[in-house]
């Protein structure tokens, strides 16, 4: 432990006043000071802390040994990771917050997209600077022999930025159509899934919303009103159109509401097997009409029963017990979506 501190100390002790250790210590000093300050001053001091940290790291990675250690042989050219490290720090300082860093929600897409171009600019910056004998760096136009390489270098970094943006485009699509996550992507030429597929189609959510809507409408209605409704539903399918509209308005504002246009509802009411009027069967089908791996729409189904229920109700100071028959809706949960899915 003592050795560790000693080595850390000797590592961080400036050999020279103008060295990266000076800036690193300034950065640590800013962080320590910032910890004791009110939020406004803290913001200013922490941005100084970031600034010193970036300068220190910049200086550090361009040190001779570090530069060779961070340079790797790619196929065509050598890749120096230093600019990437600096650029990531800059992006974190500008865009980032450490909240929710693990699930990447603290860092906005523009941050990721700008890492590569900023790294390219950092790497190419020395070519624009002429160091003269007076020790003041001067702006200069890069030498003609360097320009071709610089163009290729910058363009390749822009291409990497495009890949990042494409990743975010995919995220946008999956947010728009979350049911896609239930599909098999193995035939795709673009994406791979790095974890096994555990997602389910949102058909279940759609059907649950439909069930809730139906329950709001039918529960505690008198049985005769329900039977009238059932009779009407056999004649016209207005009820399912209404149901679909209600479900869409229920789910539209939730995550993935954009795909609600692609779910259509259909349903059928049957009497029980003996047509005794004892209860009624209700089948709700949600059909996914969006893109699928099998190129065909599929149906998720939910089975429900409408059962009469006798309610006893005795008024105070009355000996007569009033009875009333109301309907209750019971639905089976769509437990495992895959077993309920049937291909059309």
């Amino acid at each position: 432990m003592k050795d560790l501190f000693a080595s850390l100390r000797s590592f961080l002790t400036p050999k020279d006043l103008a060295s990266w250790q000076t800036f690193m210590l300034l950065s640590i000093f800013s962080v320590v000071m910032g910890a004791f300050m009110s939020s406004l001053a803290q913001g200013i001091v922490s941005s100084f802390g970031w600034f010193f940290l970036i300068v220190a790291v910049w200086w550090f990675v361009y040190g001779k040994d570090v530069q060779t250690a961070l340079t790797f042989n790619a196929i065509f050219t050598k890749v120096f990771l230093g600019p990437w490290i600096i650029s990531t720090l800059i992006v974190l300082a500008v865009f980032g917050s450490w909240n929710g860093f693990a699930n990447l929600s603290g860092v906005a897409p523009p941050a990721f997209i700008s890492i590569a171009p900023i790294a390219a600019i950092i790497a190419l910056a020395p070519k624009f600077i002429k160091s003269s004998k007076e020790k003041t760096p001067q702006f200069t136009i890069p030498a003609i022999k360097d320009r071709q390489g610089m163009v290729l270098f910058f363009l390749s970094h822009l291409l990497i930025a495009c890949w990042f943006q494409f990743y975010f485009l995919l995220q946008g699509w999956l947010n728009l159509y979350p049911s896609l996550m239930a599909e098999d992507f193995s035939r795709s030429s673009f994406v791979v899934r790095i974890q096994p597929n555990i997602s389910v189609s949102r058909g279940r959510e759609v059907l649950n919303a439909a069930e809730n809507d139906l329950r709001d409408r039918l529960n505690n209605q008198s049985w005769s009103a329900i039977e009238r409704w059932l009779f009407e539903s056999k004649v016209s399918n207005q009820w399912i159109i209404d149901l679909e509209r209600n479900v869409q308005s229920r789910l539209k504002n939730k995550l993935g509401g954009g795909e609600m246009d692609l779910w259509t509802l259909s349903g059928k009411v049957d009497a029980d097997t003996y047509d005794s009027g004892a209860y009624y069967n209700l089948v709700l089908n949600a059909t996914w009409k969006g893109p699928t791996a099998s190129q065909a729409p599929y149906i998720v189904s939910k089975r429900c029963e409408l059962i009469p229920k006798r309610m006893f109700n005795r008024r105070t100071k009355s000996d007569v017990v009033e009875t009333k028959v109301i309907g209750t809706l019971k639905c089976a949960d769509v437990k495992d979506t895959t077993s309920f899915i049937k291909k059309v």
């Binding site: 822009l158 485009l169 995220q171 673009f190 791979v192 899934r193 974890q195």
Partner: protein
């Protein structure tokens, strides 16, 4: 701001792999054609081909990102289907888009070479190219003919280069679709 990244286990790795494959193919093919038709020398034609192909790839991506928010819903669904489930049906519009892409990349590459030469402060006419690199045995005679006749026609060369690389990429894509269709959908 709503969470933007919900589906971290979906990565566009195949897209990157195919992109790199197509880029290397296109650069190699176009460099060969440019070298043959413009007598630029191997290194120079390689650099030109690499630059213009990278440029047109990036412009293509940017175009996609700009156009995508304005796509009608049906077109976006087709795009999503292509990206996530592979190509299975090709409506005529896609051919049209392919042809437009060909014309646009041709224009872009031609323009790109011009910009590049401006940037590199090069003469637009390749002179004294004989010194660059050993040339192939049978190339010499033809090259003499060419230099005796006219100066090389650059737009034609770029058009041929573009055509060759597009054909090569299309062939690979067709093979990919055919192989895909041979495996039945599970």
């Amino acid at each position: 701001m709503p969470p933007i990244i919900n589906y971290t286990d979906i990565l566009p790795l195949r897209a990157i792999a195919f992109q790199l494959l197509f880029l290397f193919m296109a650069i190699a093919i176009e460099a060969a054609v440019l070298n043959e038709r413009l007598n630029l020398g191997r290194k120079l034609s390689m650099q030109y081909a690499a630059t213009v192909n990278l440029l047109s790839t990036i412009v293509g991506w940017v175009l996609l990102f700009v156009v995508e928010p304005w796509l009608p819903s049906a077109a976006r669904q087709l795009l999503v289907e292509y990206v996530f489930f592979g190509v299975r049906s090709v409506p005529p519009t896609v051919y049209l888009i392919g042809f437009t892409a060909f014309v646009l990349t041709f224009a872009l590459k031609l323009q790109g070479i011009q910009f590049l030469e401006l940037l590199l402060e090069k003469n637009t006419l390749p002179v004294a190219q004989e010194f660059i690199g050993p040339r192939k045995f049978q190339g010499r005679k033809r090259q003499l003919e060419l230099s005796a006749n006219t100066q090389p026609n650059r737009p034609m060369a770029v058009l041929w280069a573009n055509a060759f690389s597009f054909v090569a990429i299309t062939v690979i894509l067709i093979i990919r679709v055919l192989v895909d269709q041979m495996n039945p959908i599970a």
